[in-house]
Each structure stands twice: as structure tokens, then as C-alpha cells.
């Protein structure tokens, strides 16, 4: 068997195992939350009688182990159960929310990843001169400001003062792609500003590292232009750490943008998860946890595989 295939198979198996472990953790975590779902649904209006009725109705009296295995079995078949709070099919509501989250994350990634890498290359080309300093200063400033504040600032100046884009990023299926893009313009801007610095700085650092190598000097001696040396000779050899950081940021765009969702009223996964955590809607929390874990593990697996493929010693074994 080709060693690369073997390594990829190993990665896949490991990821599956990891996901299984994560599912057990998620289940255990939701079990030890204080209070129970019946109490949370009824809130201030709970009486002993209605609490007992609701617990019975929701099947909260069964042992945890048997609930775990039946949950895992159903989840593997795509059945995530029914939300305790409003009786809707979780797979349906999660489906549309996940689609929205991926739509937002996707557009943010399409803009931010090439932009970050390009800016990184540019910063190396003009290192320690004003373009490098400007790029670093701007991106580091934007990552240092809390994302909700960036959101408010953009909202105030762009949506309220200039009236260019909508401050409410509501999208639905009846909208055309252009209308949707118009609606999500502001949250995409915020997300781009938030993830840009990390990827840009990593690109810069990784490439600067290989710029000391002898073959870069050779390329320069061949008479290649500064930017060509960086893009064609240095970048391919610096790809592994960059891909890792890019994947971490993509994972963040999917699982960590709840604040941006709240500020722009975007119907994504984060808001959905938070609402159901506060009502102790355990099946929903578990479903979201499982999806987030899968996204995280999946993206990291891709990062691993790409870095393996980027390594010529593994690609061309003797």
C-alpha cells in the first residue's frame, strides 16, 4: 500500500475514534449540568405537580447509559431526536441553521483566506518596510478589538449613517443570491477582520523562516523577482503550518461566531445552541455539540492530510 494512503487511512480511523470519544464527553457533560430540563422549561412558573408531569412526559426518569446508546444509535442514522422545548424535529431545524452557518462561514473564508495569504506574502516581500508595518498594524488592531464592538461600529457607520447594507442579516430561502450577499455583507466584514490577522501573521512567519534557506538564495541568484521567489519557492515549503492555522480559523468561523450572530440577528447554529443551552434542551445541545465536534475534527484532519501531501519526502518515497 502506498504510504500516503496508509497515513490517510490512519488519520481517518483516529478521527472517527476521536469523534466517538467526543460524543461520550458531550453526553456526560450535558448530564452533569445543574438543574434539569423540566425545571428550565417551566422556569419561574414551575409547580411540583407540573414538574413531575413534564419529567414523566420527557422520559427523564430512565438511566443515563441506556439513554446514551439509544441517542448515539439514532444520531448515526441521522435522527437527532425532538427538541424538548418546542417539539420540532432537531435534524430539520439544525439543517437550515447549519446551512446558514456554512453560508456565512463560506463567504467569510472565500474572502479572508486568499486575502490573508496575499497580505502575508506582501508583508514578507516588503518586510520591515512601511507596507509590512501597515498590514501588521491594521490586522493586529482589528483582531484586538472585540468582535461585537467591530460589529456595532460597522453597523453604526455603514448601516445607520450611510445606509449601504442592512444591520439585520436575516436571510431566507426566497431571497436571490445577491440579496443574501447584501444581507450578510456586514457580518462577513466583521468575520474577515477578526480572522485575518492570525492567518496573515502565520503566513508571514512561516515564509520568513524558509527565506533563510540556501535554495532561496539560489533562486534570487537566478535573477527571479522578489515576489516570484516568495510565491513559487518559499510558499510551497511553508504550506504546512499555514494550512493548520487556516483550518483552525475555518473551524472558528463555523463553531465560534455566536457573538456576531447575535449582533446581526443571523439565524445560525451558535444562537440556536445558546438558546437551547439556557433552556436545558439537552437533545439539541447534544446534537449541536456533535456537529461542532465533527466539523472541528474534520477540518483538522484535512489540515493534517494537506500537510502530509505538501511534504515531498512523503509524496515521493524511495
Amino acid at each position: 500500500m502506498h504510504p500516503i494512503l496508509k497515513i490517510i487511512a490512519q488519520r481517518l480511523a483516529l478521527s472517527t475514534l476521536l469523534l466517538l470519544a467526543a460524543s461520550a464527553l458531550i453526553f456526560a457533560g450535558t448530564e452533569i449540568l445543574p438543574g434539569d430540563v423540566a425545571q428550565s422549561i417551566l422556569g419561574q412558573s414551575a409547580t411540583e405537580q407540573s414538574l413531575a408531569n413534564l419529567r414523566e412526559e420527557l422520559g427523564l426518569n430512565e438511566p443515563a447509559i441506556s439513554r446514551y446508546f439509544s441517542w448515539l444509535g439514532n444520531a448515526l442514522q441521522g435522527d437527532l431526536g425532538i427538541a424538548l422545548t418546542n417539539g420540532q424535529q432537531i435534524s430539520e431545524s439544525v439543517g437550515s441553521r447549519l446551512k446558514n452557518t456554512l453560508f456565512l462561514a463560506g463567504w467569510a473564508a472565500i474572502i479572508s483566506v486568499p486575502l490573508a495569504i496575499f497580505l502575508g506574502l506582501l508583508a514578507v516581500r516588503y518586510r520591515d518596510r512601511w507596507p509590512d508595518k501597515l498590514i501588521s498594524a491594521v490586522t493586529l488592531t482589528s483582531i484586538s478589538i472585540p468582535e461585537f464592538l467591530i460589529g456595532y461600529l460597522l453597523m453604526y457607520f455603514i448601516a445607520v449613517k450611510l445606509g449601504w447594507f442592512s444591520s439585520v442579516a436575516l436571510i431566507n430561502d426566497n431571497m436571490s443570491l445577491l440579496e443574501k450577499l447584501n444581507a450578510i455583507a456586514l457580518p462577513v466584514m466583521v468575520l474577515v477582520l477578526v480572522v485575518l490577522a492570525h492567518m496573515m501573521r502565520m503566513t508571514r512567519a512561516a515564509i520568513l523562516n524558509v527565506m533563510q534557506s540556501a535554495y532561496i538564495e539560489t533562486a534570487e541568484l537566478k535573477g527571479l523577482s522578489g515576489f516570484n521567489v516568495i510565491a513559487k519557492h518559499a510558499f510551497p515549503n511553508a504550506v504546512a503550518p499555514i494550512v493548520n492555522v487556516v483550518m483552525l480559523n475555518l473551524a472558528y468561523l463555523v463553531v465560534g461566531v455566536v457573538v456576531v450572530e447575535v449582533v446581526f440577528v443571523y439565524p445560525g447554529m451558535g444562537q440556536y445552541l445558546v438558546d437551547h443551552v439556557s433552556k436545558r434542551d439537552v437533545p439539541v445541545v447534544q446534537a449541536c455539540g456533535l456537529i461542532f465536534a465533527a466539523v472541528y475534527i474534520g477540518l483538522n484532519m484535512i489540515a493534517d492530510i494537506v500537510s502530509i501531501l505538501a511534504n515531498p519526502r512523503l509524496r515521493h518515497p524511495k
Binding site: 445543574p34 438543574g35 407540573s50 418546542n86 436575516l170 440577528v265 438558546d275 433552556k279
Partner: protein, 529 residues
Amino acid sequence: MDNQLDFMAGRVTAGKMTRREFMGKATALGVSAVVASSMFADAVHAAGPVKGGSMKAAMNGGASSDTLDPALVASEGTHAILRQWGDTLAFVSNTGEIVPGLAESIESSADAKTWHFKIRKGVEYHNGKTMTPEDVVATVERHSDESSTSGALGIVSGIESMKINGDTVTFNLLDASADFPYLMADYHLVVQPNGGKDAPAAGIGTGPYQVEVNQPGVRTAYKKFANDWDDTRGHADEVEVLIINDATARTAALQSGQVQMINRIDPKVAKLLDRAPGISVQNISGPGHYVFIMRTETAPFDNNDLRMALKFAINREEMVDKILRGYGSVGNDFPINAAYPLFDDSIAQRKYDIDMAAKYYKQSGHDGSPIILRTADGAFPGAVDAASLFQQSAQAAGIPLEIKREPDDGYWSEVWNKKPFCASYWGGRPVQDQMYATAYQSTADWNDTEFKRPDFDTLLIEAKGETDLVKRKALYSEMAYMVRDEGGLILPMFNDYIDATSDNIAGYVGDPLGGLMNDFALSRCWVKA
């Protein structure tokens, strides 16, 4: 001056003067802001509503875990969503009177134990079926089922039996209740086909708007129901409720014109927002209040001298000033204010009095150990700051308070109604009886001050069945004194509802029962032509 005002009112009616202009000029003529505001509303109404257009409201208080089932409505967002598609038998007007809803007339026996509701004929549901008296009975049955999780369970448990006779539904009550129509106006008791027993969350009702799209916690879009029984409402063709829980985002949505009305303005920004062009801030004093609760059967609060000491040790004016920024009024340690019918305004206002506080504190013989006051950000807006102010003012009287800050998560299940002394809030009820029965009757589940007085309970039942309003008012006054002087409630302030509306909306009239005209704004306001 009158001529000038009439002229200005005429300009408003003709749509040639904005609210801002009118208010500015009227107050310059020496008219108080309250009077000017109501004159403006009258002048606008004289022009008559305009049909058509679309309106959107952005609301605080909704989540993606919400449902359309009226029995489970508990937050402002879900309440606003419900009010557009569903109707109750009766409504409570903004002056506190009962207005007919799905019942066209209401009569009672002399002893107020039997009530006859004549159900309106020919009212159509959104699905084309006709509403019947059987549906009314089924609705009440669903909410009174012992195993139900309905928020109206306590309200309907006083009904002994129901009977249909032609168009009339007769309710026989366990105890006489002169306020029964107010109970039937409770928002949970929206009449649904077969009482909602088949499909509680279908969102099919008799309201002015029918649900087109419902995404819980995001948006609910409606279109005008063509066969609505009431043609004095539902002016816009389309309305929509957006859930925007973030206050800044809500304000931005109004300022950028994406919505025309929003609720729950932060008192800190209300004055600033009112200065923004094209926007009016509306504040309405209501019966909601922020409180500190002492459990009167738990040491050390089982000592009335200590309770009195703490009641005198709180600076009410300062709290209204600093916590509510003036958008509210001082409380008097009983849960009733002028927003209620039969309020006795002759009860003396309790003031911050260091000497009285110190005197009662000494008399209580408290050992001087710090008294623990629990609070949380979620107890009410500004609860942590309010607790600090209380600590300072009590310190001045030599009473040591120790603030213990609790997490929001679990506050209502672990702290409120369990710990001896904590911050909390109450929304209002339409009538005094309901407020007292919810939280001050010995047997009430939510009796958070452990106020257990058989003589109070007797008065409550007596007042409930008393049809002579003068006698009834005297009874309520007596009860108010009992809670004020012996209860465990420290009530420093009643909070206003603060809404904001866009100036291209007309027909807004404040309602003391809740923000955004008790959430009827979407179906009663209209878009200016």
C-alpha cells in the same frame, strides 16, 4: 392659547406636523408633556387610520426554542407573536376597562359566582372554519387540565363547571369573583379550533393577521386575514415580528429603517435616542416593579422590626434616578400603583429615613452580623447596582448588608423563592386581585415573601366577590397596609415601559399593561400615507 393648540391639532390631523414639532410647540405654550402627548394622539386619530403598507417590530425576549402554543407563552417576544394571530374572549383596554373580544357581551349573576359570555357569531378562523362556543369550552378545558403545563392553570382552576346554552357559555365559579372577565382576558386563553387540543402550536386563530412564516427566535411574518371579524384593527397588509435580543442591534434596526417599532429601550440611551431624527421614544408607566424580597418565615426576616428597618433604609428616589434614569416612579412596599383600578392614593409614601431605620434596627435586636442580600444581573436590569445603592444607604443607618452576586443561570430555580433575601422583579397584572392572589395569598406557589396571613386571605376572598366598588376599594386599601407594614416586600420602584417608534407610524397609544401597546401595536397602528 387654545386657538393656537386647536390650529396645531388641525395641522397634525392633516398630516402636516410631526410629533416632535407638536410636542415642542405645545410644551412651549405651557402644556405639560403628558397632556400634549395625549392631544397629539387624539389629533392623529381624528385623521383616521390608513390601510395598507407593511410594518415590522423588533422585540427583545424570544429564543429559537419558542413555540406558537399559547399555553407556553412566557416572554415578550412570544406574547407579541401570539397577540397578532389569536384573540381572547375579552380584552383589557389601556384605561383598565374590559372590552368585548370574542364574547360580544358579558353578564354575571348578582353574587358574581355565575358568568355568562355571549359568544360572537360568524367569527372565522384562519383555516376557514367557524369559531363555536364548543371551542371556547375546549380551550378552557385544555388549560385547566391538571397535567397541563399551561401558564393559565392557576387562573382557570377557579372554574367549577361550564355549560353551553345556544350562543352563551356559562361559567360557574368556586368562589365569587367580580374580576372574572379580566381573568378570561389572560393572553394564554386564546381561543383555538377545538381548544388547541389537536394542534396546540398550529398558530390558527381568529386574530387580524395569519401566520405565514414562523422561524422561532428569528422572525414571524403575517399577512392580513381577509375575513377578520373586527375591522377597526389590522390596518397594514403585512406585519412581521423580528426577535432581536441585543439592545444595540435593535436600536440600529430602528434607526436604519428596517423596523418601525422596538421595545425595551435601555433607560441609559432613551434620552439620546429620542433626539435622533425620525424616531420617538414612548415611555409608559405600568404596574411592573423591581423588588427586594425577604422571606418572612426565615430568620432573621421573621422579625418585623428588622423588615421595617430595611424598608426605611432604602433610598427610593435615588434608585428611580440612578437605576431607572427617571423612567419610573417610587414604590411604597405594596405591589399596587395608579396603573390599577381601585388604587388608594391616600396611603402615605414611605421615605428614606435613617433615624427610623436605626430605631427599628435597634428594636429588632439583630446581632449585628451582616445581612446577606443576593442579586444577579438577570434579577432585573441594574439589580447589581441597585443592591450596591441599598448597601450604601443601609450602611448610613448602621445596618450592615453583604451583597452576594449570583450567576444568572439558575437564579430563578435556585435563588428566587428559595433564599431568604434576594432581588427580583414582577410584571403587573390587570387587576389587584390577580396580583395579590399570585404572590401574597398563603397558598400561592409564587408567594415569594412567605406572607402567610389568614386574615389577609379572608380579605382577599371578600374583596374578590364584592361588587360594591367603594367597599371593594376600602378592602384593597386595608390589604395594601398589611403588605406595606408587615410584609416581606421592599418595593423601591415601579419601572416604565420604554418603546421607540418610527415617525412614519401613527396610532400609537401607551398601554400600562405592557410595552408596544401591550403588544397590540402591530395590529392597531398604521403606516402614514
